[in-house]
Structure formats: C-alpha cells, structure tokens
Symmetry: C2
Subunit: 439 residues, 2 copies
C-alpha cells in the first residue's frame, strides 16, 4: 500500500502522460461535433494509418480518438466473447417515426431538437424502441449495426442484474458479509460490508472515482492500471490484476451511510457472482441473458491479465441487442412472449434504493431525485424510469409508463454532467411524442 501511494504521489512525471490524457476528458464543456468524425479525420484509416491517426490504448481516452475507440475497443486489447447462443436473433420489428424535429427546451430554456441534441452530444448511435418496435435508429462515426460499442459503466447494471438474479435464486444472501463469499477480502474495506451495501454502493472505501490523484484516496487510474484499460507505466509497482488491486483497498468511514460511486464495488460484486455461480461472467451473461433475449450479435468484455472480465466498465454490445435487453426489462423480464428473468428480479431493481442515502452521496452528474439500487439508476419519476449510465453518456433509458426504451452511444470529451440533464429532457420529449400514439 505505502509503496503504491508513494509511487502515485511522487512519480507524477511517470504517469504524467496518462494523467494528461485522462484529465483532458474532464472539461465541463462539450467540444463541437464538427470535425470530429473519425472517418473524415482518417483515424485508423488507410494502410497504414498516418502516424498521428493511430488510436492505441495509450491515447484512446483522448478526444477525438474515442470517437473511433469506443466502437472498436476489442482492437485495443484482450477481450472475452459473450456468445449470443444458437437461437437466432429475436424479432425487432421496425415502425419508423419521424422524430428528428421533435423539439424541447434545454436547461437554459432554449429550444432544441432531437436531431440537434444528438449532434451536440456527439452521438455514435441511437435507437428508440416504442412498444417493442424500432421507431428510430441512427448510426454515425462509421459505426455499423453489427458493431458492439463500449458501455463503460453501463456495464455495472448488467452485472447488478445478474447479481439480483442470483439473490432471487437464493444463491447469494444479500445480507451476508462479503467475506462470506470472498475470504480474500476479509482484511480489506469490504470485510464487514454486506453484499447489499456493495450492490447499492454505500460501502466506505478509501477510493474515489476521480482521475486527479489524492494522497487520501489514490486515483481511479490505479483501478484502470489493474485491469489494463489504461496501460500502467513500465515501472509501476502496483497490482496489475483487478482482484489483487481490490485486496489493497482499506475501509474509510462507515458502511451503509451514503451512496459513494465506485467501480471497485462492482468488481467485488462481479467476483461474488463468479464465486457463487462457478462461472465466468462472460459465460453466465451468455447463458442467462444474451442467449435468452435472442441477441443478434455476440457481445464482448474486456479482461485483465488474469483473464478476469471487467464487470464494472468492460462490456461492449450492439445497439440492437441492448434495445432487446432494455425491452425485456421494460416488460418485467420477458421478451417476445418468452420469460428470461422472474418478474420479481426486475421489480426488485425498479423499487430503487434509499433516496436519502443517495442525496447524501456523490453522484456526478447530480441526479436529483434518483437512487442507485443493485447497480441501476432509478429516477423515481412518475413514469417509473430506470437507467444504466456509462462514461461519455452511454445510456440505456427504460420508461415503462411510456412503453419506451432508448439506447444511446456517444463519444465526447466531457464528463456526463453536461449531457445528463439534456438527455433527461430529450427522453421526456420522446416519451411525450410517442406515448399517446394510436396502437
């Protein structure tokens, strides 16, 4: 521990390049969409690409490299397939609706449109599913429907769903201590945390999901070094696998008091899910969900140097398959008349978590009125919306009352705080435009 912190705080020069790249993404403004199309820019185009147009793991976080990178992560490092199964794709019928010119007011009161919103938020692809039919589907940045796109932290909600399923099946006791399942973590922050606290991210861990290094809490870079999504400097002495990294983290404050967003909680949860099921996450996800919803394409998940899937931020999947996934959840666990999950599993997620603990927490962007439960963002709005969110505004928005699912991929250079409020308004506008349409 000490040694790692010494390294983190004093060897800034070593990590300077990485930090610069990472922090370049923390500007609270969106860059203009113009001139960031990766195909027009020649990113990874040509044989070979121009030297300054090569996207690598070292520079992928830096805008506009992420415009190519987020739908091509497998080309940057090791991944495991999430097999779609042998059943063939389930139907996803089209019923197009003209939505581009739907207008709504942004936070400043200025009128904007669904088309402008997509451009402004550097959208890579978007699909609007209404009553199970594809009302609207667009791809940009050279993306194709069969190409998986990085979900980043929206991965957490998939992991949370699997965990909720195992709780429902009695395989995980949500009130048990983490160390019941993972004795490896007995002497860490999680030793006396409950599984439910991990699922709701109300644990107290000396860790903050921030790029800027702090002597108190380290930096999220150490987590990224441990899973390889950011290459560790050659002389980095810290853990280079996730499980080893988790074993270094200590308790900070009390468990169960307030929401505190952290990917490492999800990795602990993913570890429990594997330990209990005896299956790799990629295998379990394939068996229990991907093959069951009739996914059209394999998904994939980033793995660390020990072959451990990154269950907090590692999944990539296609727009259409995430639409099927969202639709299954909208319908309480069924799709096309086929039950995938017990209704109780979806109900458990939708009931949400403790809103006071959430308010006392550190949601960035601020998600007023939300709670975070079983790794899902619950809006507590009249429509019963619940959502999965990832870096650069990867979104799965499920609005049961409006019979609406929106999946949106983006690749911008600001944190989601700028785009979250706008997205909420856009989703409300889509719901308003679609909910009263005749059947």
């Amino acid at each position: 521990m000490a040694r790692r912190h010494v390294w983190t705080m004093t060897s800034v020069t070593v990590a300077a390049g990485v930090l610069t790249i990472a922090l370049a993404n923390a500007q609270p403004q969106l860059p203009p969409a113009e001139n960031s199309d990766p195909v027009q820019l020649g990113l990874m185009q040509g044989f070979p690409p121009a030297p300054d147009r090569i996207v690598t793991l070292q520079n992928a976080l830096k805008f506009p490299n992420n415009r190519w990178g987020w739908h091509n992560i497998r080309q940057l490092g090791p991944t495991a397939a999430v097999w779609r199964g042998r059943g063939g794709p389930s139907p996803l019928p089209a019923a197009p609706v003209e939505l581009d010119r739907i207008s709504f007011a942004d936070e400043s009161g200025t009128s904007t449109t669904i088309a402008d919103w997509q451009k402004k938020t550097l959208t890579d692809a978007i699909l609007v599913l209404h009553r199970g039919r594809v009302a609207y589907e667009r791809y940009y940045v050279g993306m194709r429907p069969e190409e998986p796109h990085a979900l980043w932290s929206a991965t957490k909600s998939v992991t949370g769903l699997l965990a909720t399923l195992l709780v429902h099946e009695g395989k995980i006791d949500r009130d048990a201590k983490v160390s019941t399942y993972l004795p490896e973590l007995a002497d860490t922050a999680w030793g006396d945390a409950s599984v439910q606290q991990v699922m709701d991210m109300t644990t107290g861990v000396r860790y903050r999901e921030a790029f800027a290094p702090s002597a108190e809490t380290g930096t999220v870079l150490l987590y990224l070094f441990s899973n390889g999504l950011v290459p560790a400097p050659a002389n980095y002495p810290g853990p280079r696998t996730m499980f080893k990294y988790l074993e270094t983290l200590k308790k900070d404050g009390e468990h169960g008091k307030a929401f505190s967003y952290k990917s490492v909680d999800t990795e602990v949860l993913g570890w429990i899910v594997r330990r209990v099921s005896g299956k790799r996450m990629s295998e379990l996800l394939s068996e229990r969900i991907w093959s069951e919803i009739g996914a059209e394409e394999d998904a994939y998940v980033w793995v660390d140097q020990a072959g451990t899937e990154v269950t907090a931020i590692g999944l990539s999947a296609t727009l259409r398959d995430l639409a099927r996934f969202g639709e299954m959840l909208r319908l309480g666990g069924s799709i096309n008349g086929k039950r995938v999950l017990p209704q109780a599993v979806v109900d458990e997620i939708r009931k949400g978590g403790d809103r006071d603990k959430f308010k006392a927490g550190d949601s960035t962007p601020p998600r007023t009125g939300y709670s975070f439960h079983n790794q899902w963002w619950i809006a507590h709005d009249p429509d019963g919306s619940f959502e999965a969110h990832g870096l650069n505004s990867q979104h799965i928005h499920i609005n049961p009352a409006a019979e609406l699912v929106v999946v949106k991929f983006s690749s911008h250079s600001s944190e989601s705080r700028v785009t979250h409020a706008l997205a909420r308004r856009a989703y409300a506008a889509l719901a308003a435009a679609l909910r009263d349409r005749p059947r």
Copy 2:
C-alpha cells in the same frame, strides 16, 4: 537496421525469457497427451486462477499453456472481428460414421487408429466432412463448437485465396512488381519481386522463419515483436508495427529461384490486397467469403498496434466454419448450391506451383512431392489434395477425389515435422474408409 541487429545478437539476456519459451516448442518430439488437459490442469480456471496457472501472451507459446491459449487468443490481446454476415448459418448436416477404430500404419509400420492419432497429436478439435455431411466431430480441452481456434499459418491460405480472387478480377497483376502497389517497399527486399513470387514464397529476403537468432537473418521473433504476438522487451528498439518491420528487410539472393517459407511474404501480400481493395482484411474476408459461405460464427484476427491485421498467422475461426470454407473449395467455389468464388480461382490454386523450386526450398516439415502456390500447400497426389497448414498442426485438408474435408486443431509442443507425416497417413486412412461408401 544495424541497430536492431546489434540488439538481437548482443542483448540475448533481454530476450532470453522469450527465446526460452519459444524454443521450448522446437523439440522434435511430442509430449504425452496425458496431464496436459488445460481444464484438469486448472489453466485459467477459478476466480482468480492460481498464479502459476495464468496464461498470458508472455507464456502462451510454452506447452501446455497453448492448450488453453490456442482457442482463447482473443483473451490475450487485440483482435478485429470477421463478421459472419446476416444470412444465418448455412446447413451442415450430420451423417455420423464410426471412425475412431479405423486403423493405419504409422511411419515405423506400427498400427495406430484415428482415435489414438488424435490423442497422440494433442488434438483440440477435429471435423471430418464427407460429401458435405459431418461424418465425425470431436472437441477436447474444454473447447466448444462456437469457439474460434487459432489457425496460425493456415491463415496464409485464406489471405492467398483473397489475393487469387483479386488477381482473377483483374485488380492485382500478378506479374507486376510489388513496388507498383507498395511504393513503401521500393528499397526493400520486395522492391523488384513480382506479386506471384510473393504469393509462392520464392522471393529472396534476408529473413528466416526460425526462432534461433542468426546474425545473417535475424529471427522470426522480430516479426512477432512487430505484430505483438510475442511482447517485445521494454527496451526493444526495433519496429513495433508489421508494416514498419517489412520496410527494414533487405534482399538476399535472387527472386524466383526457390521456395523459402516466410510469413513476411504473406504480410506483403496482405498489404497489397488492402491497398488494391481499399478494405481492411477483416472486412474483405467478411464480405467476400465469411458471409458468403454462411459462416455460423464470427471469426477474428489479431491486429498490431496500428490496427493492421496479421494476415500470415493471425486468424481464429471455428471448426465448423472452416469445414464450410473447405467444402466450398472442394466444390470448386460453391457451397449449398451458391457460388462464392469463380471456379477459375479454385482451379488456379489447385494447379499448384513449381515442384522443382519447391524441392530446392526449405519446407519444414519436409513435404515430399508438394508445391506451394498462392499460399496453399498442394500435395500433387492422385486425389488432388490441397491443404492449409499452421503451427502445431492446424490443418485444413481437402481431398476432392474422396469428397473429403478434414479440419483439425491441435496444441502440441513440437514443430509440425513430427505430425505432418502421420497426419497424411491418417487422412489417407479416412479417405479409404469413406470414399466407397454408398451415397
């Protein structure tokens, strides 16, 4: 150039680990199949796997790590998908035949069986297709039908087929100089070589496909460092992308005189195919072949740090899809009544190359009577057999007269010289057992 050679020859300590690993595979004996099952050994099993059971790119070449590694290469590094298309899998009907006890004589005259041969040669999976029906299909080492397996150098034949197709379409002039298409290589070994010489590997290049370093020819490790399939030492000063590496290679001897096996010729050919088609190899392979034969699963291909697919050794595909691929070639370019390639393309490959130039060359294992043409091994036997071969005996064996296709994956620790002669005898035994069966 000089600097790289100095590094290679003097800094043995730096590369010693890598070399040891690589050379461990060059023993001319097969290890016993017993106790090498990766599941029983616990390779990459458990959460986390035991520290000495973790397979990484650093140790994957070392037996028995390759027993897990060769059907999980995407978990070790960057890959690009070869999409199977939207057509759904083409039929691959089963018509099982009991073949395990078919016996044949090995080179010493001792009787063996199809079952024993598979065990002895550390088979990962095998499929025998007779008259388009699956007569026999087995998976070992925990492999599943949907999992792609590394083809290693059998990749070359896929690249060669695409090149032959572009020659047929008039897009590549096989008599043109390489530098016509790749001015980048004007001052290299290939500047005055013809495309056909590259396709047949009769170029003279200061390069030998050998792990043991030589002051004259370097080592295949430099090629592997350039594409990342063997991690380059941190202080390695040489090229870390394949195209840059190709630009360093100089002429040695005359072009067109003798067969000289080398992956770098195939990489030059793959570069030409991209330059001419304007497409990535993964894209072209998907469009022209994988989607056309009705592949069941996506294949994938290893990419270097510039996103360049490794077209000599980088492809992984499933057993069944390679059976479809072989069947299409057996039938002269059609499968299930659908034409995929012009008959002339397959005829061009099957006619073979110059057998005298081949005999004057360096085939390892010795392939008596063969020639190498357009990146395919042509047996010149009465049945008209032609084959794709890869490291550790990855095989696609096509016997038109016996209406037979055999695809075999293996992961052993010797070079193919031990197993090639035995495989030829096994294929002959399979042909004899199947060819006269009533229709």
